[in-house]
Amino acid sequence: MTAQEIHDILKSQFGEAILEAKLENVPDPFIKIQTEKIKEVAEFTKSDDRLQFDYLMCLSGVDYKGKLGITYHLYSMTHRHKIVLKIEVPTETPNVPSVESVWKTANWHEREAYDLFGFNFVGHPDQRRILLPEDWEGHPLRKDYQTPEFYNGMKVPY
């Protein structure tokens, strides 16, 4: 199925929640979704017979300076097609519905995004830091991140 057809299905199902789409002249066609709706869209893309996006390839946080975004790369093992979904949230209130219940693989990806970007995944069963120490302060992949001078009495910048 082409990106255009996937977009049309989502548009007819969710209407207003589909904010924007860029389907041509980009390496990966993407559809921008309203943040609050991402879990419903995710559930729909997985369960709909025409789409069957059962494989979440990657979930990446991005800091767009002023707002944070998440990119979901989806793939369907049955139909062998793919699509990219994107959402954006303000940096001050980075609340995103968790898609962990849809794709289990999102569990660690979301923990990583929380760890490095400071998203708050609403409904995540186990939102802990994963790569950094549990008592680390701040979220290093944010563009305005300042490396702390000391961590537990140890000098950080070398």
Binding site: P27, L131, L141
Partner: protein, 386 residues
């Protein structure tokens, strides 16, 4: 420790023994974790109740570093250090993503050499995976055989680019330089010699009665669960999913060659058990050899530096490129702004994703089986922690 009484055990004198769950830390310094990984294991006697992995001991801020480069090409040596036993594959994955972003077409010769390197690397990586897995299972000999032959592959790499492990060989748009004249002949020799070892070790290890007893019906990963956890590579194919990116989402010229995708069939037990995952790796090496031999025989001429850009400044946008690495789907998500520096790079490491399923497949197993399950996932901590 929790104070729950799991089940009452009566002694011969009629007394009731107190039993309770116990928490054992496996790692971070433990040979079977293949690196610095800590597993917090909750045990009921010898039976595993819960496994909680603690990562990050080898976190080197790869993604943060990438945002502070002065060029896209500079990322490649960093990429090498992610999965340090399959550095060629990492480079390949990164350049596939970058070339997708930059819309670069590389010459056919570059494709062929990349395929040869990627497949040699796959063999080298599987040799470590199976060799160390054998050690975990108590078989020491295959490890020695496999490391001897892995060394021959490393010599081929050393001959090509001067480095044994971290190559910086595959560049965006091409290669750092062409293969040396004697490479073709030496690779042919290697392929012929290596088949003997493969057959020998296959008989020695995979069909050994003790090995089968240890691995069959252990750590079963069902098909649906594997897809839901986005497992990839031998992990996914061991569970009976006929999926290989080289064939199903072609990123280079693999469709020019004849080879088969190996799938676990549950020959010794259930589909998706530890034995299946191991045999998928074993048989994939034969397929890699087939690909290498065909690629070597039909290697086209050309300039490998022809498409290498002098200066890389992509159009703002993003791209996700993925390749089939030895451990599975290795992807790079690159976000570019109008600059020579990458704005954001996310590495989708297969070992990281595959490891996340460990709790599901270890529940109810014996503690000793947990070692088998860990070995069969084939993690490289450099890639898990990045």
């Amino acid at each position: 420790m929790t104070e729950t009484h799991l089940h009452a055990i009566k002694t011969s004198t009629g007394r009731t023994l107190r039993t309770e769950e116990m928490v054992v830390n496996m790692g971070p310094q433990h040979p079977s974790t293949h690196g610095v990984l800590r597993l917090e294991v909750v045990l009921d006697g010898e039976i595993v109740v819960d496994v909680i992995p603690h990562l990050g001991y080898l976190h080197r801020c790869f993604e943060k570093h990438c945002e502070h480069m002065t060029s896209y090409q500079q990322v490649i040596p960093y990429v090498d250090r992610m999965d340090y036993v399959a550095a060629m594959t990492n480079e390949h994955a990164f350049v596939v993503a970058a070339e997708k972003l930059l819309k670069i077409e590389v010459p056919e010769r570059v494709h062929y050499i990349r395929i040869i390197m990627a497949e040699l690397q796959r063999i080298a990586s599987h040799l470590i995976a199976i060799g160390t897995f054998g050690i975990d299972m108590g078989a020491f000999t295959p490890f020695l055989y496999y490391f001897r032959d892995r060394e021959k592959i490393l010599e081929l790499f050393e001959m090509t680019c001067g480095a044994r492990l971290l190559y910086n060989y595959i560049w965006i748009g091409g290669l750092s330089h062409d293969i040396p004249p004697q490479f073709v002949e030496r690779t042919k020799e290697f392929c012929t010699d290596f088949k003997k070892t493969l057959k020998e070790v296959n008989d020695l290890l995979n069909y050994n009665e003790i090995f089968i007893k240890r691995t069959a019906n252990v750590g079963i990963l069902p098909k649906d669960l594997a897809i839901n956890y986005a497992c990839s590579g031998p992990m996914l194919r061991g569970s009976g999913v006929d999926f290989d990116l080289r064939r199903d989402d072609p990123y280079t010229l693999y469709n020019k060659f004849e080879w088969d995708v190996i799938v676990g069939k549950g020959e010794m037990g259930t589909v998706g058990d530890v034995w299946d995952r191991n045999i998928v790796r074993q048989r994939e090496m034969w397929e890699s050899l087939r690909i290498i031999e065909q690629a070597i025989a039909t290697l086209p001429e050309g300039d490998v530096q022809k498409a290498v850009p002098k200066r890389i400044r992509p159009v703002p946008g993003d791209a996700y490129g993925r390749v089939e690495g030895p451990r599975g789907e290795l992807g790079f998500y690159i976000v570019a702004e109008d600059s020579v520096t990458p704005y954001r790079i996310k590495a989708r490491a297969p070992a990281f994703v595959n490891l996340s399923v460990i709790n599901e497949i270890s529940k109810g197993a014996m503690l000793a089986d947990l070692v088998a399950i860990m070995g069969s996932i084939d993690i490289v901590l450099g890639e898990v922690d990045r």
